[in-house]
């Protein structure tokens, strides 16, 4: 077996992986990016619609264009991209992390690195995860698979489509399927509000006259060999109104029912996972419970925008580089998700510097107030005209607000939506 040695290894060559790797290169550290697909770019490569890069580049790019800008930068550095290569195991050996990677060209490589950045992204939840009863015919696909088939492989998975779940990929695919001549009969959402971004509801459903059924559950899938239809049931006051169920004939069901960070490799390595995000617990430096292993992007928690992903990944790369340089974190304060907040990432802040936080609410609310308390004392209040679970909230807390924590032991920072 071949051995390779780097200062840092980045698992996953999507937006997060490339952004993190560039930080190592910028500091003269050696770095490998391990990517299982044939090229860098990750899931961006199948996202041929625009809307990427508004924050990062101040312009609207397609997914592949966004990826290309990062890939060009990667190619200009000494970063070693290992494409068509899959990490099958990660272990800690003394000060080093050993990644067993397999590819057809090189066989199994034992790749040694002092620091590792996890950037594996996420996977789509599927029918089994949400337990839709009924038969199991051909024609039930996740929206991301359909996107791959249409945008890259050039195949149309079906003609009469019902989309279950109003996540962004589902909305984007409603428009995409309409463009390729399919009839999208409905988007069905269990919650009383959409799961995707408002701009996607407008551009992908409203502009195409596709009905969105909120507070509706898919209670059956019909069809022996190929999908013949779905049964939809309204939910009123939390109860299924079975007598109001109706059937929508279709030959294809696309599922856009959420994303799950893909952490099986991490779990097998011994990394602790936060059940609220399904991503690793990380400290203020985005480091997991294993020293020298960092996480960023959708493997840490599912983001709305790739612009946020690369921002977070850059910090992860920079923190990892500092860690390699021997810098160890100082005092940290625990962050708690308070009332109406589902999670805050990361779960710790460092009072000695600026901290960027990402959080999601549990509620849909107009004229909300984001409240930050340090040891039960309000240190920041931010007015928000509208909050909803599908729109991630960003927040930066600085030394000024956190300095009280530097002296008090067992400090807690609580963030809530009022």
């Amino acid at each position: 077996m071949k051995e390779m040695r780097f200062d840092a290894a980045v698992v996953g060559g999507g937006a997060a992986g490339m952004a993190a790797a560039l930080e190592f290169a910028a500091r003269g550290l050696t770095c490998a990016v391990i990517e299982r697909e044939e090229q860098l770019g990750g899931i961006l490569m199948q996202c041929i619609h625009n809307g990427f890069g508004l924050i990062e580049f101040n312009e609207e790019l397609s997914g592949p264009e966004f990826a290309e800008r990062f890939e060009e930068k990667v190619r200009k550095t000494a970063i070693t991209p290992l494409c068509s290569t899959t990490v099958i195991e990660m272990e800690v050996e003394g000060e080093e992390k050993v990644l067993s990677c397999v590819s057809s060209g090189l066989g199994v490589i034992r790749l040694r690195a002092k620091a590792v950045v996890l950037a594996m992204g996420c996977r789509e939840r599927n029918r089994g995860n949400i337990r839709i009863p009924g038969s199991r015919p051909a024609g039930v696909y996740t929206a991301g698979l359909a996107q791959r088939l249409v945008n890259i492989e050039g195949y149309v998975p079906g003609k009469d489509v019902v989309i279950i779940g109003s996540g962004d990929i589902g909305l984007i695919m409603a428009r995409r399927m309409s463009w390729v001549g399919c009839k999208v009969h409905a988007v069905v959402e269990i919650l009383p509000y959409p799961s995707g971004l408002t701009r996607n509801i407008v551009q992908c459903l409203n502009d195409f006259g596709i009905p969105l059924y909120l507070s509706h559950l898919t209670t059956n899938i019909y069809g022996k060999d190929r999908v013949e239809g779905v049964e939809i049931t309204p939910i009123e006051n939390g109860a299924l109104m079975l007598e109001k169920s109706f059937k929508i004939p279709c030959d294809t069901v696309l599922l856009s029912v959420g994303l799950v960070p893909e952490n099986e490799l991490s779990k097998n390595m011994g990394i602790e996972i936060n059940p609220m995000t399904n991503g690793p617990y990380v400290d203020a430096c985005l480091m997991t419970n294993i020293p020298g292993v960092f996480a960023c992007g959708n493997v840490l928690h599912v983001h709305d925008l790739v612009d946020f992903v690369v921002e977070e990944a850059r910090r992860a790369g920079a923190f990892a580089a500092e860690w390699l340089a021997g810098k160890r974190g100082g005092k940290e304060v625990r962050v708690k998700a308070g009332p109406n907040v589902r999670y805050v990432s990361p779960s710790k802040v460092a009072p000695a510097r600026d901290n960027k936080l990402y959080l999601r609410t549990l509620v849909v609310k107009n004229d909300a107030v984001l409240e930050v308390k340090l040891n039960n004392k309000i240190v920041r209040q931010v007015k928000k005209s509208h909050v909803q679970p599908s729109e991630m909230i960003t927040l930066t807390l600085g030394q000024a607000e956190l300095e009280a924590a530097a002296s008090a032991p067992d400090s807690v920072l609580e963030i809530s939506i009022q």
Partner: protein, 479 residues
């Protein structure tokens, strides 16, 4: 027999686990045998969706043929595994009593097991049960332990049996739905719905759920096969609830109850329910039944969590009466009925092969052993089971072992290609052979890759690829 000839000594209708065992057994003799199957691939009926258990030999009284065949069949699995390279493990079975009242039936099962000659069967105290199976609920009051019981991957078992039968000369015809049959002189002429026809001196009816229809087509006995639906949940291999042994509840009069099964491949299966259904193609799952399964499983193993659910599915078990119905037809000549094979059919199936071989002999079929019969199938290395060193060696010989196609179950391109070369060209056939699409993403990441490999390897067009045969096309257009 000349290749391509349509005249056989024996035709077996149905390539499920019974038909496959019979075919493989007969392949040891100088006979021309054909195995016909109405589905696109073998094992696509009852044999693909069941609990995958080699039973412990204590559930049924020896007065039943099914009990005798179960005991005999269970003993044959070790040798079959060595010959046929399918996943099988004797992990043992426990039956958990959750209430003092259940200890009486446990005692009866134990006595039955002893009478049946089950080796190592044991009545257990609560402490012994919790020692054998620490995941069990604290509420367990005692139970039964049968160390010889085990777990098997039923479709892989059938695939291997059929592959080995084919290697020894048995002809397989898939997509062959028997429509009519006529006896002309010493031969049956069997016609399929698609117009094909074969001739055979003897016919074995191993048509599972449709054995009643096949029997009528031959003018043999008129009986009815009913379908009993069993719904299951499959849980992720990372689940914390995986028991070390198969965990049974105390059985009821109609069913062995809902189990928690550690599958041979590392996932966990919970179920099945048992609901009589009219439509013998109704494989739909229902919200109510699935809720029942979770509740029942949690009653025995509290750590069963619905967040670990990967998928749900249903299988249909054929039943006609209390016992198996395996005997020569009294109405149709040279026609052997192998019907009503419900639980413990999978366990009994190797013995069914033996039993039917003997019945055919009694009916006048001449059995001459082949000098060159080869009981083995060529083993397929599975990347998932290899150490990094072994995998590295393999990639040097075949680089396709370095391409991971299914990340969840770690299946390589080489294994997909092997499945296709062995005749499994539907998405489901490839899934059952390789496990690709069977993991936590359920094909979300790998389906498009598999589609491309099928097209490349077989020359099939995009519009010819199906999930499991005619009507189940995967793609509906091209850009």
């Amino acid at each position: 027999m000349k290749p391509g000839s349509d005249s056989f000594d024996v035709a077996i209708v149905g390539a499920g686990v019974s038909g496959a065992n019979i075919a493989r057994r007969l392949s040891a003799y100088e006979l021309d045998v054909v195995l016909v199957e109405k589905e696109a691939d073998v094992s696509f009926g009852t044999s693909k969706a069941n609990s995958g258990i080699v039973h412990g030999g204590f559930h049924h009284n020896k007065k039943y043929l099914k009990a005798r065949l179960e005991l005999q069949g269970a003993m044959m699995f070790d040798r079959l595994k060595a010959e046929l390279d399918f996943p099988f493990e004797r992990c043992g079975i426990v039956v958990a009593a959750m209430h003092e009242d259940e200890m009486r039936p446990i005692e009866q099962l134990y006595m039955q097991g002893v009478e049946n000659g089950v080796i190592g069967i044991e009545m257990c105290s609560r402490e012994r049960m919790l020692e054998l199976e620490p995941k069990l609920s604290e509420d367990c009051v005692g139970g039964l332990y049968a160390p010889g019981g085990g777990i098997v991957e039923p479709y892989r078992f059938v695939f291997s049996l059929v592959e080995n039968a084919q290697k020894n000369g048995v002809r397989l015809m898939t997509g062959f739905a028997v429509e009519s049959a006529k006896r002309e002189g010493e031969r049956w002429t069997v016609k399929a719905a698609d117009g094909r026809s074969i001739k055979a001196r003897y016919v074995v009816n191993a048509a599972g759920l449709f054995a009643d229809e096949v029997s009528r087509a031959f003018g043999a006995e008129d009986f009815a096969i009913h379908a009993r639906k069993g719904e299951y949940y499959l849980l992720d291999r990372m689940t914390k609830c995986k028991p070390a042994r198969v965990v049974f509840p105390v059985p009821t009069s109609v069913s062995k109850g809902m189990l928690v099964i550690p599958t041979v491949e590392g996932t966990v299966l919970i179920g099945p329910t048992a609901t009589a259904v009219q439509d013998k193609t109704d494989l739909a799952t229902t919200r109510e039944e699935l809720d029942t399964i979770l509740k029942s499983a949690r009653n025995m193993i509290p750590s069963v969590s619905e967040t670990d659910v990967i998928t749900s599915f249903a299988g249909l078990r054929p039943f006609m009466e209390e016992d198996f119905y395996i005997e020569p037809s009294k109405k149709a000549p040279a026609f052997i009925q192998v019907a009503g094979i419900q639980s413990p059919g999978l366990t009994a199936s190797p013995a069914i092969g033996e039993y039917v071989k003997d019945l055919l002999k009694k009916e006048g079929l001449k059995l001459v052993e082949k000098a060159d019969w080869d009981p083995f199938v060529r083993k397929v290395p599975r990347a998932k089971d290899l150490s990094p060193y072994e995998l590295d060696e393999l990639v040097k010989k075949d680089p396709a072992y370095g391409e991971i196609v299914c990340r969840c179950e770690r299946v390589t391109e080489a294994e997909i290609v092997e499945a296709i070369r062995r005749g499994h060209v539907t998405l489901d056939g490839i899934k059952y052979f390789t496990r690709a699409q069977m993991g936590r993403c359920q094909g979300g990441f790998c389906t498009y890759k598999i589609l491309k490999i099928i097209m490349r390897e077989t020359g099939m067009g995009w519009d010819e690829i199906t999930k499991r045969g005619e009507g189940s096309s995967v793609l509906r257009g091209e850009l």
